[in-house]
């Protein structure tokens, strides 16, 4: 014969139907003769029913607000930031190239007339008109 401690170890399986038939019959026999364990089973059933009957509550509006307000800048603004960063990087690059070119400028300027003269000799028709 099952005692109360043994019965209580299986009380939830008994109440929520997770037992095979022989085990259930064993627990049934004990419950039929033990008011305390029968009371436990009844209490578990009432808890289960109470949990299932808890009504749904209506959510408030605007639960998206914090997510969108606290979120990083939207993609379009991110694109502008990337574009601005690229423009700045390009400008810095152009300046550095221009600077390097400027340092070499006197030599190049000196060579311009010679280059033009050579070009004129190669294409005389350009200057005959």
């Amino acid at each position: 014969m099952m005692n109360c401690d043994e019965w209580k170890a299986f009380a939830q399986d008994y109440v929520f139907g997770d037992l095979n038939d022989p085990a259930r019959e064993l627990l049934d026999r004990h419950a039929a003769s033990c008011a305390s364990c029968l009371g436990e089973a009844s209490q578990l059933k009432r808890i289960d029913r109470g949990m299932r009957q808890e009504p749904a509550v209506k959510p408030p509006a605007g639960l998206w607000r914090r997510a969108l307000d606290a979120a990083p800048a939207p993609a379009s603004r991110e694109l502008w930031r990337v574009a601005a960063a690229l423009m700045i990087a390009g400008a810095i690059g152009a300046l550095s190239v221009t600077g390097a070119f400027a340092r070499q400028l006197p030599d190049e300027v000196q060579r311009v007339p010679k280059v033009l003269a050579e070009a004129a000799q190669m294409i005389p028709s350009l200057f005959q008109e």
Binding site: Q12, E40, Q43, L44, R46, I47, D48, R49, G50, M51, R52, Q53, E54, A56, V57, K58, P59, P60, L63, W64, R65, R66, A67, L68, A70, A71, P74, A75
Partner: protein
């Protein structure tokens, strides 16, 4: 709106790509489910709103990690479970069982029939979440295990302990209070 509203996949994809209007619509569809889980975990409307906002903030921040070839809801449940449990850990200094009655808006102040709800508030957060997923969402133990990234055995233990704890706490009440609280 039903807490289990259908969520169209195109809406999920638009929201994931950064479309704010789609995100708002998606949150509206998930609000019932999320807020009710939060309500069952906190037992307090303002806290449930705060917890829900944290869930959706996390959704927005981590949306890119969602693989659209997989079902959305299980992924969202995992994300929301983490957010809810983190919220509870961050707010432990103000446990639900220590909340003053005046924290509750007038229609929700405890009345005798809320004995069960009050008992739920005293449970550890994992047990509260398991109860909410099991009883409100109607998930199986295996689905809860997936949503909480925990073994099935652990979820069974939490569910078992939650019911045992509720039984013990309700037995401490006078018989008529306990009886009213669980609405026999």
């Amino acid at each position: 709106m039903s807490p289990f509203a259908e969520i169209p996949q195109p809406l999920i994809l638009r929201a994931r790509s950064g479309d704010a209007a789609a995100f708002r619509k998606l949150v509206d569809l998930l609000a019932g489910l999320t807020f009710n889980i939060a309500w069952r975990m906190t037992g307090h409307r303002a806290d449930a709103e705060d917890m829900s906002q944290e869930v959706f903030l996390r959704l927005h921040r981590h949306f890119a990690t969602y693989d659209p070839s997989l079902p959305f809801l299980p992924w969202f449940r995992r994300l929301s479970s983490n957010a809810c449990l983190n919220w509870c850990r961050d707010h432990r200094s103000k446990r639900p069982d220590q909340l003053a009655e005046t924290d509750l808006p007038a229609p929700e102040r405890p009345v005798p029939e809320t004995a069960l709800r009050d008992a739920v508030k005293t449970l550890p957060e994992e047990q509260r979440l398991v109860l909410a997923r099991f009883y409100f969402e109607g998930l199986s133990v295996a689905e809860i295990a997936e949503s909480m990234d925990a073994p099935v055995g652990t979820i069974k233990t939490w569910l078992y302990r939650a019911r045992e704890n509720l039984k013990s706490r309700l037995q401490l009440l006078k018989p008529n209070e306990a009886g009213e609280g669980i609405r026999p």
